[in-house]
């Protein structure tokens, strides 16, 4: 088996705020192989974005990557790299695409300039050469009439086009890994599909790996081959995409799947996982999903579950792995029992 491209070991990124230490990422470990598309799915606040930012060392005070975390990439540990070495990786070996194409581009420079800047910084290209490469890249991402578009300013382009520009920027140096943090959330639904197709297509052509971060299971289904489910700063389930959809193990994953409305089914109300994510400054003892889980029992309160192996390449952080019969005794989640019930 070939060595993975990126290997994260026990990543912990904590934020030291006035109201306490927020353990946004609390012991996350996973690998990404070459040419693979891995997805991280979870609701807001679960730590997926912070994980992504940590990989590129973009965490700013009061946040900090804790000692003991290791991110291995191309034979080096990103966590302990010097500033110059990390800058060498950013935009060059690992790049990132964000959610807000509106504001991610500098309004006072042309689009072409900004894309070309990557090549000038990393490959030392001349202005002319970098510009030409930028135009090539823009055309590759499906922007029509790329030559003249490159001379325009961000405010003159639509949201979908701006995202294509950012994708072009990310792929300029043909990086080994592209991290896409909710790349389609801010876009219109019709454009979303286009952008996702583009990413998949470009990945096949250039051969990069993609880390796709999203809260949308539909995106996961369409683009990834392996999925990581995060909750409350931890990985709660990991599996190949088909396996995850067919046989979700962790109750949270179950909840996510159930909450997706299905066309063709009659439904009066949307299914919702009751309760909310606990505050990152105060993760509960034991299983962090306990209060919202329909199967939890005493063990869940006392023991923090490790990642159990529940299938081939399928792990789940749930005590149901060792006491599966509990799944037959569901009960109302504790948060509903303890909270104030209306009617």
């Amino acid at each position: 088996m070939t060595a993975p491209l990126l290997s994260i070991h026990d990543l912990r990124t904590w934020f030291y705020t006035e109201s306490g230490v927020a353990r946004a990422v609390d012991g996350v470990s996973f690998d990404i192989g070459a040419g693979e598309t891995v997805g991280i799915v979870g609701e807001s606040g679960c730590g997926k974005s912070v994980t992504a930012l940590s990989i590129l060392r973009l965490i700013q005070p009061p946040g900090r990557i804790e000692a003991g975390s290791r991110i291995e990439f191309e034979g080096r540990d990103i966590v302990t790299l010097g500033d110059e070495e990390i800058r060498d990786i950013r935009g060059n070996r690992i790049s990132m695409i964000f959610q807000e194409p509106m504001s991610a581009l500098n309004p006072v420079f042309t689009v072409g300039d900004q894309v070309a800047e990557v090549a000038r910084v990393h490959a030392g290209m001349s202005r002319r050469d970098a510009w030409e490469r930028a135009v090539e890249m823009l055309a590759l991402t499906g922007i029509p009439d790329a030559e003249s578009r490159a001379r325009q300013y961000p405010h003159q382009l639509s949201g979908g086009m701006r995202q294509r520009v950012l994708i072009a920027m990310a792929l300029m140096m043909k990086p080994a890994l592209v991290i896409a943090d909710e790349p389609t959330t801010a876009l219109d639904v019709t454009i979303q599909a286009q952008i996702l197709d583009l990413l998949v297509d470009l990945q096949k052509r250039i051969g990069t790996s993609i880390l796709m971060i999203t809260h949308d299971l539909g995106v996961i289904a369409e683009t990834t081959s392996r999925v990581i489910v995060m909750y409350a700063g931890e990985i709660v389930e990991q599996a190949d995409v088909d396996e995850l959809f067919a046989k979700p193990h962790h109750p949270y994953t179950e909840g996510l799947m159930h909450s997706m409305p299905h066309i063709g089914h009659d439904q009066e109300r949307l299914n919702v996982i009751p309760g909310t994510v606990p505050a990152p400054t105060d993760w509960p003892h034991g299983c962090r999903f306990r209060d919202r889980c329909p199967y939890s029992w005493e063990r869940c309160e006392q023991e923090h579950p490790p990642l159990y192996q529940v299938g081939v390449d399928h792990a789940s952080r749930c005590h149901l792995a060792i006491e599966p019969e509990r799944r037959n005794h569901p009960h109302p989640p504790l948060v509903v029992e303890e909270g104030v019930a209306a009617a």
Binding site: N271, V272, P274, V340
Partner: protein, 297 residues
């Protein structure tokens, strides 16, 4: 059960002391530099207020115009004496009193005018607003000092009350712009539409709903405004058209020593230093308040 819909938690009762004013003051007290500024400002204000009690001499007394004039700082006269043998320290203390008083009163006048003008313009809208804003722009184009010079030269021998009024009349332009902007924004806010739907009169809406939202810019403008007036009054007094002699104001004292600036350096140094400290502390406080309110929104 998964599949159940969510139940809503009851709304917690409002916490006390959450008025905009209270929040601003509380944030102020948290910072180290603002606490220091409050202390220094407090000392100066106190010194001014208690001037009649703590001034070692009568500020207008000229005991010995031959022997005691132009004395450099000494134990008997910590800030020296002026060409008329008056004790400079006492004059500076009384000057603090007067300059601060003028600052506060003039700012009150400015605030009233600014809020009124801005609120009317913003609420009226349309042509009235446009005209009012053009006139405002014109006033803003005239540097405040020039405007005051133009006015004050025409009225020789002004009383302090009139000076305060003129200072006030020239200082409301900036605030009225801000107030107008707020009023315009709030006019279309949903809670105003709701109030009108309930039948509230225009005046009631103005007073009960809009004014409380204006507290923050007003408080900030007031603090910074007092600082401006103090500097302005000093400048005018220095030019001879501010506080009439022989009253003691910081600007007047500097003017008294203007002819012999090199030899009577203490007459320029001490009033000036006090002015700088007063203005600095007011600036620190005003900006801290502005930061506190902006962070809230």
């Amino acid at each position: 059960m998964l599949g159940q819909t969510q139940d809503f938690e009851p709304i917690s009762p409002p916490r006390p002391r959450e008025t905009p004013l209270a929040l601003g003051v509380r944030r102020l007290l948290r910072g180290r530099s603002t606490r220091a500024a409050l202390v220094v400002l407090g000392i100066i204000v106190l010194a001014g207020l208690l001037a009649p009690l703590i001034a070692p001499y009568d500020p207008s007394a000229q005991p010995d115009i031959v022997a005691l004039k132009d004395l450099p700082p000494s134990f008997a006269h910590p800030f020296g004496t002026d060409p008329y043998s008056r004790d400079v320290l006492s004059r500076v203390l009384y000057g603090a009193r007067l300059s601060l008083l003028i600052g506060v009163l003039a700012t009150i006048v400015s605030l009233t005018l600014g809020v009124a003008y801005g609120a009317i313009a913003g609420y009226a809208g349309g042509l009235v607003d446009a005209v009012m804003m053009r006139v405002l722009d014109a006033f803003l184009s005239i540097p405040r000092l020039l405007l005051l010079i133009g006015v004050l030269v025409a009225w020789p021998r002004l009383s302090i009350g009139a000076l305060v009024l003129f200072l006030g009349f020239t200082g409301w332009f900036g605030l009225s712009r801000i107030v107008r902007g707020q009023v315009l924004a709030l006019k279309h806010a949903e809670f105003v539409t709701a109030a009108r739907a309930l039948g509230a009169s225009r005046r009631r809406i103005l007073l009960r709903h809009l004014l409380p939202n204006l507290v923050s810019p007003i408080v900030v403008a007031a603090t910074l405004g007092v600082a401006h007036v103090i500097v302005l009054e000093a400048g005018l007094s220095y030019l001879g058209i501010g506080v009439p002699q022989p009253q003691a104001s910081w600007g007047n004292i500097i003017q008294d020593g203007a002819d012999q600036v090199a030899t009577l350096w203490w007459m320029s140094l001490f009033p000036g230093l006090l002015m700088v400290f007063t203005v600095m502390t007011l600036n620190i406080l005003g900006e801290a308040l502005r930061d506190a309110y902006e962070r809230r929104s």
